[in-house]
């Protein structure tokens, strides 16, 4: 008997890293899960690695595009009959640069990825959740949704924005059986980190390892977080007992951000 028996979840950016860990934790608790990602190849690979049979379904699409987000929600409902849990997990940084040198192109890309994508997905998912009077929305924000790192104005700003959006939507649907929360992880050595971290480190004039240390050192645990940390609290929020937790920005950062 799982904590999420009978539930249907959709996880953006779910083929690898944090999203994949959340998807696997949801499957373990009895949910049916749609994972999304840009690459059909990585999607197929994830399906075969997880080996969850018909309980796991992949839908390809780039969530920086509005129509992809909306179609993803509708396809989830089409495939599994409903949507109970929406995890807006996709996101990341772009080319790091001081604001004075930030290009429109990269700014707009990160804005779409980190802030507009959760808005598009949430708005569409609520159309299904409000009539059924049950829903769980989990936005994967970041400790940088509360604190700051230079040369990443796009990332920091959009994660702050996501935290604000989370609180507003929580209050709008708070009496409808729907909760909306944001998780604020510290640094995690995901594939995205391995791809983008060295670039971000270079923009700060440091080695990649020093960049990782910079994220671990201010924490109480003096190490990076892990994808399983985010999955653990995601299961709690998605469960029945999570009904009383909403509009919360929950730190998953080993004690780093003190507020």
């Amino acid at each position: 008997m799982g904590e999420l028996d009978g539930r249907v979840a959709c996880v953006t950016g779910g083929t690898r890293g944090i999203g994949r860990a959340i998807a696997e934790a949801f499957l373990d608790e009895g949910a049916q899960v749609v994972i999304n990602g840009r690459s059909p190849e990585k999607g197929e690979q994830a399906l075969s690695e997880v080996g969850a049979g018909e309980s796991l379904h992949f839908i390809a699409g780039d969530v920086t595009q509005q129509e992809v987000c909306e179609s993803l929600i509708d396809q989830t409902v089409e495939h599994f009959g409903k949507i109970d849990i929406m995890v807006n997990n996709a996101g990341g940084g772009g080319e790091a640069a001081p604001l004075a040198e930030m290009s429109d192109e990269i700014w707009n890309y990160v804005l779409n990825w980190n802030l507009n994508h959760p808005m598009w997905c949430m708005r569409r998912a609520l159309k299904h959740m409000i009539p059924q009077e049950w829903g769980r929305i989990i936005n994967i924000s970041s400790m940088y949704g509360k604190t700051v790192i230079p040369t990443n104005s796009h990332y920091v700003t959009t994660k702050h924005g996501l935290n604000g959006l989370t609180k507003v939507v929580a209050h709008e649907v708070g009496t409808m059986g729907i909760t909306v929360n944001a998780l604020c992880p510290g640094g995690i050595l995901t594939d995205v980190m391995n791809e983008q971290g060295p670039v971000a480190a270079e923009a700060l004039g440091m080695e990649f390892q020093a960049f990782l240390d910079m994220m671990a050192e201010p924490s109480a645990i003096k190490r990076l977080n892990e994808v399983e940390d985010v999955a653990l609290v995601s299961v709690l929020l998605a469960s029945e007992a999570g009904a009383g937790i909403t509009g919360s920005l929950i730190n998953v950062d080993g004690g780093q951000v003190p507020y």
Binding site: E226, E228, T246
Partner: protein, 259 residues
């Protein structure tokens, strides 16, 4: 297989309400639990009602007294052989009054019962947890640890202080396998609420219904939280898998605190 199989927990103020719900949830997950409270009679009643056999044990303790709190922690180790989880849950609102009229007696009692009890329990627990290099400390704070309402200055100041204490302790033991977190519930209709709230409401010059609404209306869910919602978080934080959650002020307040 329970999530807390083989663990030993002690919970202050746990013959009723939130503490009791945490105790029952821990036992359901396979832990052995020492419950405590001032009254032997309520302790015996609780043990009878919980019907957990040798997995539950009662030790009488007035959480406002240092010697009794320390004896409770040591008594847990004596009885069950070790201590893995300490939930410092006792506390309360008493003697509501504007600061201008608050007596030393009421103030000092609140400091002992809320803040000092947490400090005494934490320090003593750490003396057992540090050598074994593992442990979970959970302090029961409150949304009033971040917010403020008139006439409950003693309670509010103490809960704010507990939040500070938790963050410092988390950093001190962050690399020793020990986590220290606070749970910040919103209004929960506990026995404590029914005992203290009528007098508090009177001091505020409002009816009990109005006082209740003062707590629930700012939330997104427009209802009190439940003891089960708090207990679910207490289970999650106590798990081995929650090793990277520390220094966290975990809200269970239906979206009341925006930060």
């Amino acid at each position: 297989m329970g999530k807390l199989e083989g663990k030993v927990a002690v919970i202050t103020g746990s013959t009723r309400s939130i503490g009791r719900a945490v105790a029952e949830a821990y036992i359901a997950e396979g832990a052995k639990v020492v419950i405590s409270g001032r009254s032997e009679e309520k302790g015996q009643n609780a043990l009878d009602e919980m019907n957990a056999g040798e997995n539950a044990h009662f030790i009488a303790c007035d959480a406002g007294k240092q010697s009794e709190v320390e004896a409770l922690i040591d008594g847990t180790v004596e009885h069950f052989g070790k201590l893995d989880i300490a939930v410092l849950n006792a506390g309360g609102i008493m003697g509501a009054a504007p600061i201008a009229e608050m007596t030393d007696e009421v103030w000092n009692h609140a400091v002992d019962l809320n803040l000092n009890h947490t400090f005494w329990g934490m320090r003593k627990s750490l003396s057992h947890m540090i050598p074994q290099e593992s442990g979970r400390i959970i302090a029961m704070s409150s949304m009033e640890g971040k917010l403020a309402k008139p006439t409950v200055g003693n309670y509010t100041a103490n809960k704010h202080a507990i939040n500070g204490l938790v963050k410092v302790a988390a950093h001190e033991v962050g690399t020793l396998g020990i986590t220290v977190n606070a749970i910040l519930p919103g209004l929960v209709l506990t026995d404590m609420f029914y005992e203290s709230m009528p007098a508090t409401a009177e001091t505020m010059g409002v009816t009990l219904e109005e006082a209740t609404a003062m707590f629930t209306q700012p939330s997104a869910i427009k209802r009190p939280n439940t003891v089960e919602e708090v207990a679910a978080v207490a289970v999650m934080l106590a798990r081995d898998e929650a090793r990277n959650f520390t220094g966290c002020l975990f809200p269970v307040d239906g979206g009341t605190m925006p930060y």
